[in-house]
């Protein structure tokens, strides 16, 4: 076997791997679209049920916009920092990547903490998901988003573990890219929750 043969073999496999990476990212986009449909379903349910308060509290009387604005700012900042982390990863700067994602994780945890506190508060004053169809829809829509954030945080934890242990390999960069897409997607969903659930709830008479 000549040397050129060996070279072309390696090149072919490398090209295959590159193609597969891009296919995987495309597949992840398609997955995100299915998640998008899932949230669309939950938004539709919320839209149908948001007036069915069944004698219980309405959105206007229940939600504190200050808290929600804080949550929103935290999540938007985390998304920005996550974006910086992706840029750092593509520049093969491992340390900066780790720092950015750790910051993202901290902000994400803060968001989940605030949301959980809010849920706990609502449940403790007797306005839990059992109270009315409106509250069932509210808890499920916002809770599903929160659950997605938790999955994202778990994913980040696993990635940080991988990065601390190993190198910033091509496959790790691909995973981080997908993670970034996921995180930004959740941000977009949150913008809709912020607008439709909280803002529109607050302005309604």
């Amino acid at each position: 076997m000549t040397e050129t043969d060996v070279l072309t073999r390696k090149d072919i496999l490398k090209e295959e791997r590159m193609q597969r990476d891009s296919t995987r990212i495309f597949g992840f986009w398609v997955y995100l679209m299915t998640d998008c449909v899932l949230f669309a379903g939950l938004f539709a349910v919320y839209a149908v049920l948001h007036n069915n308060t069944f004698g219980g509290p309405s959105a206007k009387s229940l939600f504190s916009l200050h808290l929600v604005l804080t949550e929103t700012l935290i999540l938007l900042t985390s998304s920005f920092i996550c974006g910086l982390g992706i840029v750092a990863a593509h520049h093969h700067n491992k340390r900066l990547t780790i720092v950015a994602f750790l910051l993202t994780m901290m902000l994400g945890l803060a968001f989940v903490g605030l949301e959980f506190g809010d849920f706990y508060h609502l449940a403790s004053i007797g306005d839990s998901w059992r109270r009315s169809a409106f509250l069932s829809a509210y808890f499920t829509l916002v809770g599903t988003h929160g659950l997605h954030i938790c999955v994202g945080l778990l994913w980040m934890a696993v990635m940080m573990f991988r990065l601390l242990k190993g190198k910033l390999t091509q496959s790790n960069i691909r995973r981080l890219t997908m993670l970034g897409l996921f995180w930004h997607f959740l941000d977009v969903v949150w913008i809709f929750i912020f607008t439709i659930v909280y803002l529109m709830g607050a302005v309604r008479a």
Partner: protein, 665 residues
């Protein structure tokens, strides 16, 4: 009294094990005995290791496809048993007699029949054919995500196991195959039946969703050189359409099932009668998934027929472009018709009018396809092989069923026949003669490519005649009964109505269909025993047109030793016609996915979680969920999932099969 032990096991008691109802008990025992027989057989022949290495851990789409079809056929038999029981009940439960089944069993039987036939028989056959053929048809070696593909299959199995567990432990849903609330709410269905229904569909549904993503990406990204979209075989086009539908429809199912479970478990009020819930929202949601679902099932069957009719008419498919546009018109329109399932909801004349018209419009692209198939046959040199017979049975019955559907698309007419046996007869015509005949044709047509030998044609034709005659006898009476006022899911009726003779005819029809199934099983066994006689040595037993026939039968695990390059539609037909002399092949190294046990492990944890969620055994649910998360992380952290198949090895194996072909010529 609530002891610790009781809490630990949730709602599960020793008394939950089925002992009372003889029919269910018999079914549970026969499944157990069948399982035991398989276990004994495997141990006796020392095949456990073989089973684990070659099949249970495989990521080869062709093997997964075979397993999908085996499971689907088993489920087809189970659902068929349910059908026979229903026919027996309705033929005997008249006047003073209350038939062979208790009414609670009867309700579980019709719920299980619909659930199993759609989710585990039809979907299983569909994904089976996707797995078997799509990579071969587009000239590639594998799907885009082989491991995800295996996981999808095992989740499908986990759902199937959960449905069948309900036979022995507890009960199945008695709320119909779509479990409408408020009947399916905790207040009116306090048992675990509906929860079994929810979780078996939820687990299998997530598997289906992942398969949809997988095949969409496979078709869009992995086609061989030269295969532009407009050169794809029609089966690939229709599978692409079905995958898009899966991607848009299945998340709605996931949400709907999830909300129903929250209602039942956490006391939420999405669909409850009180608390501000809206039961009609459930019906809207489930049909926003459910109507696309019927097109998910039928589109690939249309694709099979397109391949079959072109091959056996020795002509290229008539109106290729219009076929493609018809598929996409159906994909789009299938999301605009769901309300025709409940015109009687009271949405008002405007809404009903819109959905009625859209329902009639969606019949147009389907009609385009029917005419294209007929024009393909026109002046063709038709060979009446059994796949072609299935096609011809389909085109007659399907058109009749389609016209019945257009009748029901007229809202005032629908008010009369809503939920009648007319409707039951209509959708069975579409799904049996459309979907099932299509998949039977596909399995017969592609069987030699997968196994290397053909099925016996004579027995196949007998099976076809039994199915067709039995079908007409079983369902034409139901059309008439429906017009006479018989409603669906009828447990008992008065003898003065004079319905009994028609129900008996329908029962005879069902028995003839069962005979057809028996003949198909005999056909399979007979063909396996005589496989040397039916061996396909050329790789092209039907004088085929598309790429899959260019490789030896059975197709090797890597499909193509050298990836093909195509310049036209029907590339294999064109190259045969042009008598292309073999171009020297250039073999290169190929990376192939390694087998993995992760798929089956993930599914076992999912099953554990589903079972625990049904019975509210929260500790087991936590273990299942934790296991699921760990198994996924473990698999995704593994960077070493591929092996290299060397060019030398490929060349050697390819030369052997080429020599075999030469020898035959």
């Amino acid at each position: 009294m609530k002891g610790f032990g009781v809490n630990l096991l949730g709602k599960l008691h020793l008394s939950s094990i089925q002992t009372k109802d003889l029919t269910t008990l018999g079914a549970a025992i026969s499944i157990l005995m069948g399982g035991l027989l398989v276990v004994i057989l495997l141990s006796y022949t020392h095949r456990w290791k073989w089973l684990w290495r070659e099949w249970l851990t495989t990521v080869d789409p062709k093997r997964l496809g075979v397993m999908y079809i085996i499971v689907a056929v088993l489920m087809l038999i189970r659902g068929g048993m349910d059908a026979l029981m229903m026919r027996a009940q309705q033929a005997t439960s008249v006047g003073s007699s209350h038939g062979v089944l208790s009414s609670s069993t009867f309700q579980q039987v019709f719920s299980a029949h619909g659930t199993i036939m759609i989710f585990f028989a039809a979907m299983g056959l569909m994904f089976g054919l996707f797995n078997l053929m799509i990579p071969l048809l587009i000239g590639t070696r594998d799907v885009a995500f082989p491991f995800l593909n295996a996981t999808s299959f095992w989740l499908f199995c986990a759902g199937m196991v959960l449905v069948n567990m309900s036979l022995g432990i507890g009960e199945f849903s008695a709320a119909g195959w779509l479990a409408y609330p408020p009947l399916s709410e905790l207040k009116y269905s306090p048992g675990v039946g509906v929860d079994y229904w929810i979780w078996s569909l939820q687990i299998a549904g997530i598997g289906s969703l992942m398969s949809g993503i997988n095949f969409l990406v496979t078709i869009l990204r992995k086609r061989c050189k030269g295969m532009t979209l407009m050169r794809m075989p029609m089966f690939v086009w229709s599978s692409l359409g079905a995958s898009v539908l899966i991607i848009f429809a299945f998340p709605i199912l996931t949400v709907t099932l999830f909300l129903l479970y929250l209602d039942r478990t956490l006391g939420m009020h999405f669909f409850t009668a009180g608390g501000g819930g809206n039961a009609m929202m459930y019906v809207n949601l489930i049909w926003a998934w459910g109507h696309p679902e019927v097109y998910i099932l039928i589109l690939p069957a249309f694709g099979v027929f397109s391949e079959v009719v072109a091959t056996f008419s020795r002509k290229r498919l008539f109106g290729y472009r219009s076929m493609v546009w018809a598929i996409w018109a159906i994909v789009l329109l299938s999301f605009t018709v769901w309300l025709h399932h409940f015109f009687t909801m009271g949405a008002g004349a405007d809404v009903n009018g819109f959905f009625g018209i859209m329902t009639m419009v969606i019949a147009v692209p389907t009609g385009v396809k029917v005419f294209n198939w007929l024009f393909t046959m026109y002046r063709g040199r038709i060979k009446f092989a059994s796949p072609m017979l299935w096609f011809m049975g389909f085109i007659v019955l399907f058109t009749i069923g389609g016209v019945a559907g257009v009748v029901m698309a007229i809202p005032p007419a629908d008010f009369q026949i809503h939920n009648s046996l007319f409707l039951v007869a209509h959708f069975h015509t579409m799904i049996v003669s459309g979907v099932l005949f299509g998949y039977f044709a596909g399995i017969t047509y592609w069987f030699p490519k997968v196994f290397g030998f053909r099925l016996n044609e004579k027995l196949g034709k007998y099976a076809f005649y039994c199915w067709t005659i039995g079908f007409v006898l079983a369902f034409v009476p139901l059309y008439i009964l429906g017009l006479m006022g018989a409603t669906r899911r009828l447990d008992h009726y008065s003898s003065s109505l004079g319905w009994r003779p028609l129900f008996i005819v329908a029962g005879i029809g069902a028995v003839i269909i069962a005979l057809g199934v028996v003949i198909q099983l005999i056909q399979l066994v007979y063909s396996i025993l005589n496989r040397h006689e039916y061996r396909d040595v050329t790789g092209d037993p039907w004088n085929g047109r598309t790429l899959e026939w260019s490789v030896p039968s059975p197709a090797p695990s890597y499909n193509f030793a050298v990836l093909p390059e195509v310049r036209s539609r029907d590339p294999f037909w064109e190259s045969k016609k042009a008598k292309v002399i073999h171009v020297p092949k250039k073999y290169i190294d190929v990376s192939m996915p390694k087998n993995t046990s992760s798929g089956i492990v993930i599914a076992v944890f999912a099953l554990m979680f589903g079972f625990a969620a049904v019975w509210h055994i929260w500790i087991l649910a936590a273990i299942g969920l934790l296991g699921l998360i760990i198994a996924i992380i473990y698999r995704l952290s593994d960077d070493n999932t591929e092996f290299i198949l060397s060019a030398e090895k490929l060349a050697r194996q390819d030369r052997v099969s080429d020599l075999a072909k030469e020898y035959v010529r």
